[in-house]
Symmetry: C2
Subunit: 242 residues, 2 copies
């Protein structure tokens, strides 16, 4: 996961489990692909395979949204696309600001899948005066001084932090003070935010460390397996040479 949460664990969002919410975008992507191929209906089995989950989980997930399928048939692709989009709030437009236009910020600004799903890059913000005015992904970078006015003028509620770690908390506080209530943090820091503000984090280094853990374990298991091949307690009476 590359993910940090910040939700009151008590009140579950309109009865939809967090784990289900996290999978809806996955289903939506798979459904969009089917829709583009003009596939009219899909079974839980097929859709689950496309999304990389098992079908019981998918059906349970959909059951939280309502009964949108037809027994014996499956799900109507277009209808599901609409229902999930609506549930995720993608039928409205979300202006987003990206703060910190280094390599990563530029990559995010250029990321296509951004615009496609209701998200619009309202502004790119950087602390370096030399960056101000420079176009990145067709948008002129603005200076951090403008942060507050950009947020309020554009009604921005989602901010992306792609600054160095040292600047992240301060940027976060300014975003929140200006009215941002959801933050996607790429800086390798724990952000502290007031109640009611959601933070999700994406952290390359953490993901690699988790992979390293499992990678190391694989090496260990191989060694173990090799060892147990020599002298296991198998279904044969093990007689050691005296």
């Amino acid at each position: 996961m590359a993910t940090g949460r910040n939700h009151r664990p008590a009140t579950r969002s309109r009865g939809i489990p967090e784990a289900t919410v996290a999978r809806l975008p996955l289903y939506l992507r798979a459904l969009t692909a089917l829709s583009e191929r003009s596939v009219p209906t899909v079974s839980s089995e097929e859709l689950a395979a496309a999304a990389g989950v098992n079908s019981a989980k998918l059906r349970k997930d959909f059951s939280y949204l309502g009964s949108y399928g037809t027994r014996g048939v499956g799900y109507d692709v277009e209808y599901l696309v609409y229902q999930i989009s609506r549930e995720l709030g993608l039928t409205q437009d979300w202006p987003v600001v990206i703060v910190g236009i280094g390599n990563l910020g530029a990559a995010l600004a250029n990321y296509g899948g951004f615009a496609s799903r209701g998200f619009r890059v309202a502004a790119l913000i950087d602390a370096d005066p030399a960056m101000a005015g420079k176009p990145v992904a067709g948008i002129a970078v603005q200076h951090t001084d403008e942060l507050e006015s950009i947020i309020s003028d554009n009604g921005v509620s989602i901010g992306v932090i792609a600054t160095p770690a040292g600047a992240a908390q301060q940027v976060c506080e300014r975003l929140v003070a200006a009215g941002v209530t959801s933050i996607l943090n790429f800086a390798p820091t724990v952000l502290s935010v007031p109640d009611g503000v959601d933070v999700r984090k994406v952290d390359l280094s953490i993901e690699l460390q988790i992979l390293a853990f499992h990678e190391q374990r694989k090496a260990g298991e191989e060694a173990e397996a090799a060892a147990s091949r020599k002298g296991p307690d198998g279904d044969m009476p093990a007689v050691m040479p005296a």
Copy 2:
């Protein structure tokens, strides 16, 4: 979570829960910061605050590693740094290849926190012949043709995919065939891999959609709260004007 897993859920990794493994890097980062400030010991309460979790969870997490604390005192910072590093496999060197040197690939190559923790960028690989030989983050980009020889010559077991979605599955298959067994996928696609290969995914678009869901819900709750302010069942007998 910008996170996808691929683990046999039955056999838990050396008894350490996956959720715990995912937090170890977080503790390690907090501990490293303390170490740099030459703080000798830290209590579960303090460390938990720095890592953004609660202290009971942290103690439980550490209990899976062993009894590394001292009652009445806390944890020795240096010792814990070492133990967690070892557990995560960071005491060894992990050569990593990054495939797809666009904006994002370049950002990853330049990411400092990379090298700091046992990870070494062994090669940058791109399919564009025009990129070949160009230096990015001080390393000459190599052509995809070289992928197999790079992997085997450097003993690479971790690969990072930062290609467009369309190329990801094919790149993934080549990486796996060449010997990579852990993949960090930034392309917005579900990768299918054989058993024994770990995939974690980082997906900007999914993270934003999850934020949008909660953002939308906040708007809904405000409306609800406003409505219930008008006529709730509070601790006062509500007498409506007739």
